[in-house]
Symmetry: C2
Subunit: 205 residues, 2 copies
């Protein structure tokens, strides 16, 4: 079992390593990598050790092969196909967010319950009725569901995803959703960023 | 100086404590709190120790007073006034997100560069031209800037915020923005949630 906090740091290491690769840095050791990620060197070594030996002792890590090793260990070196429920402002912004596809996370089906939206084409995808989700999951190879409905509708949207056999849910609505043990829900929340800005602002004034 | 990771955990403690308060739990000790937050008990005690002694030895923490103590220590027990640049899909979804106001973060000015949007009223606020930002920051008491423009326009939006005297920026656009040392930028990114879903899905299949 790998702690949640380790996965969060590994995602940060990948993004920072990608910046180094873009700047044509070929090799990096754990301390400069750690500093760029806001952690200490021993934390980097401990996190990477979950997946095996990567660095060359005394030299450091080869940047592009470390990226490949981390993404392979996390299972994100392949395509993940997703369904999005709630094609409103946030749903459209997520469809418009080029980062998803760049990392292999493809939204292949979009669903809503508003009769005026059903049948519309948004970012090249037709909006389907949520009731159609169950029949489309197997056909489109969908493995992850995204909820971008208002909070009071999030539980219902989760029910649709679970009825369709999905067990991985990315929830943007500010509502706790009740799911059985085998279903994994990730809540997207950016308040810690605002807390960090507020705290820093208070300290420096 | 308080580590970034501690602030992130403190934000989680506040949310989990708010859930306990909603369920009318009055007192809680560090281990059940830690478990609900996915960390260990000694980490909770270490994080809280940055701000002083809160618990009653042998009894635990009083839930509502611990929430008050953490939010006061972080400086988020007061109103923070913000400007948002880029009133598109994501900007509108953020304006529609009731959680902001509930936590004292108020968007009081919205700005865009599209002549068709300027003058429109969105969620009760008039869209102003980005050029007006400088004159409005002092008048509206704005302290934090939010960027929801496309990535290639994020640097320009940041420049407008800095020219207006702002030094705290919440950036949603997937682009690195160059700022002087005294300006604090927080990047909102939810990829670690997708990595956690992918990893968990791969493990359980
Ligand atoms: N976590 C974050 O980062 C973040 C940021 C901004 C907004 N939000 C949240 O995102 C949510 C969406 O905000 P928005 O501005 O896009 O709202 P919106 O009203 O524009 O869109 C909601 C969409 O969901 C659809 N819908 C409602 N119930 C449904 C159901 N049962 N099945 C299918 N579709 C359904 C509606 O028809 C609508 O199209 C809100 O809960 C908001 O608080 C989260
Ligand atoms: N981090 C996240 O969680 C997340 C999620 C979804 C989308 N996004 C990102 O959010 C951004 C916005 O997405 P969207 O779907 O809302 O796009 P959009 O095109 O609907 O909206 C962008 C708005 O910015 C305005 N704009 C452009 N340049 C400007 C400038 N210099 N000054 C003022 N306004 C300017 C445009 O006129 C438009 O109104 C994108 O960069 C997208 O990748 C981030």
């Amino acid at each position: 079992h790998i702690p949640r906090a380790t996965i969060q740091r590994l995602a940060t290491y990948v993004q920072v390593l990608e910046n180094f690769a873009r700047d044509e840095v070929e090799v990096i050791s754990s301390n400069p990598l750690a500093e760029a990620c806001g952690v200490n060197g021993s934390q980097v070594r401990k996190d990477l050790a979950y997946f095996g030996e990567f660095g060359i002792r005394g030299v450091g890590y080869h940047v592009t092969s470390l990226i490949a090793a981390i993404t392979a260990s996390l299972g994100v070196d392949r395509e993940w196909r997703m369904a999005l429920i709630g094609v409103g402002n946030l749903g459209k912004a997520i469809l418009n967010h080029g980062e998803f596809r760049a990392r292999g996370f493809n939204i292949v089906g979009i669903f809503d319950c508003d009769p005026f939206k059903i049948g519309e084409i948004v970012h090249g995808l037709e909006v389907h009725c949520t009731k159609d989700l169950k029949g489309m999951v197997a056909e489109l190879g969908i493995e992850i569901g995204i909820i971008t409905t208002p909070p009071e509708r999030a539980q219902r949207a989760a029910q649709h995803l679970m009825d369709a056999g999905l067990t991985s849910i990315l929830n943007f609505a500010p509502a706790r959703i009740k799911v059985p043990e085998r279903v994994h829900v990730e809540y997207v929340d950016f308040f810690h960023h605002l807390y960090a800005l507020a705290f820093n602002h208070t300290q420096t004034r």
